[in-house]
Symmetry: C2
Subunit: 300 residues, 2 copies
């Protein structure tokens, strides 16, 4: 990436974050709607400076299919709602018991465990409400989005499967196979679904959808590898969450299985594979290529 | 109800429970599918001898609209998945901290808190997957079901709103208004949605849907009043859950606000109002009338 491209990507990402945040703000009831506490808790976790990688992947994928796709940020919101619910529940004392997230006290630290459980449930539920109410989208397409998101978030190869593997993987011997099954489900499924949902929203052909799925898988794997590497390399302050947590909890990570150097090379390989999967799209996939680069180069 | 009618209703309910359980068994991954623990936890709570009131209401409402409605038990499953997730999360130490449910140790007692959080999340997610994959149903209808269920389960007048009110209502002065806002959301919204989803599935007209919504509201209110009364009157053994819990936790209940006798009369009034709302349907609503009677007369 040249300096100019980098600058242009930073601007693009900042712009898209604003678009996504504006849409989220419209979908999530304001804090004055009763019961006020739950909406306050939902918004606290939702508007905590997240990178919005999933919604941005969805938007970029949709625009790669059809440049003039409108309203896609609404569908993209559903992905961020699911992601945020999973973070709230993950941080609970019953789960990872974490006090810090995106540089602030976690939801249950501020609102208590009961409300944090319910805020997670509420964001998860709202994700599907949003998809059911997408303005100007045919029912056929909406229902495909519901199916895509529910499967990617579920227990059969989806996000929840990954969380279970993750919990049960602690204290097990870190093997390459176990590692792969964890990451593929835990973050991979939802990142892949982000790209696919954007493509489905924009009316992708079967061939386009297949290529973008492959891109999503590689970009998703790169994302997880880099996440694991950053947990070792960076400070809690830089990450906005507790660093070094993986090792302390004996999580199965890429650095634990392959070491830091080989992990970095693997992320680079995945980045290249993600690029290769976009051949079909030519110039239309410029943003998707840049996002794959960003995923690997990011520092937090 | 005559003895013969009562017998016929018992048979009908037992039959419908079997139909619903068979459908649930098909939708929920078996315990040999990885990760095995989560599917075991989901099935443990799901197949614990629940009355399946919500799915049965949906089926009966659908058949009141069109006698030959097929496959409606699949849509009805989504309601039981939502109901069961809410019980699992409600029982968590972070929430009501209950050890007994449907006569057995609660999910987190058997599988641990982390897996109980995830099992609840998984059932909630699966509810929407089921609706997105209903066989032989037009996309337009499926998406209406997704919207109906997500709103009824959500934070604006839905089930989660009721749970928040419930938590925050403890230690507040029990007033009639607070009581109404709790029940309308906590159990009322999902019971009303059960009837409405059955009706939508079967292609109800606007007038039919309005009548059934009214029936659902009254039957739902009757259900909650009777639930509160039973919590005072019956033993834990009869209920299969901890009795007398409401008073111990200073919950706002109908007996707490109105006393036992007046609460019983109110349930009876709601039963009659539920019957009255069915005038439009004549003989087609026989089952729905019987179910309203059953809701008021039940002992657990």
């Amino acid at each position: 990436m040249t300096k100019t491209q980098q600058f242009s990507l930073q601007e693009y990402l900042a712009e898209q974050v604003k678009v996504v945040d504006r849409a989220l703000d419209e979908w999530v009831p304001v804090e004055t709607v009763a019961p006020e506490s739950i909406h306050r808790a939902m918004r606290y976790s939702l508007f905590a400076g997240g990178k919005r990688i999933r919604p941005i992947l969805a938007i970029a994928a949709g625009r790669a299919i059809r440049e003039d796709t409108v309203g896609i940020e609404n569908a993209a919101c559903a992905l961020e709602l699911i992601h945020t619910y999973s973070l709230i529940h993950d941080d609970l004392p019953a789960m990872d018991n974490d006090d810090l997230r995106r540089g602030r006290p976690t939801c249950h630290k501020v609102f208590g465990d009961a409300l944090a459980v319910l805020a997670g449930d509420a964001l998860l539920t709202l994700a599907f409400e949003v998809l059911s109410r997408l303005p100007g989208v045919a029912a056929e397409r909406k229902i495909r989005l519901v199916e895509e998101l529910s499967r990617a978030s579920g227990t059969v190869g989806g996000m929840i499967a990954g969380q279970v593997h993750d919990i049960e993987g602690e204290r097990q011997t870190p093997t390459a196979m176990l590692l792969e099954s964890i990451h593929r489900a835990k973050t991979g499924a939802l990142l892949r679904a982000s790209v696919r949902m954007g493509a489905i929203y924009a009316g992708a052909s079967t061939a386009e959808l297949a290529s973008l799925s492959e891109y999503g898988e590689h970009a998703g794997l790169a994302f997880q590898i880099v996440d694991d590497v950053l947990d070792v390399e960076e400070s809690s302050e830089a990450l906005g969450k507790t660093a070094g947590k993986d090792q302390a909890q004996q999580k199965i990570t890429f650095p634990a299985v392959y070491g830091l150097e080989r992990s970095r090379q693997m992320a680079e390989d995945e980045r290249e594979a993600a690029h290769a999967a976009l051949a079909l799209f030519g110039d239309r996939a410029g943003r998707l290529r840049q996002i794959a680069d960003f995923i690997v180069k990011r520092k937090a």
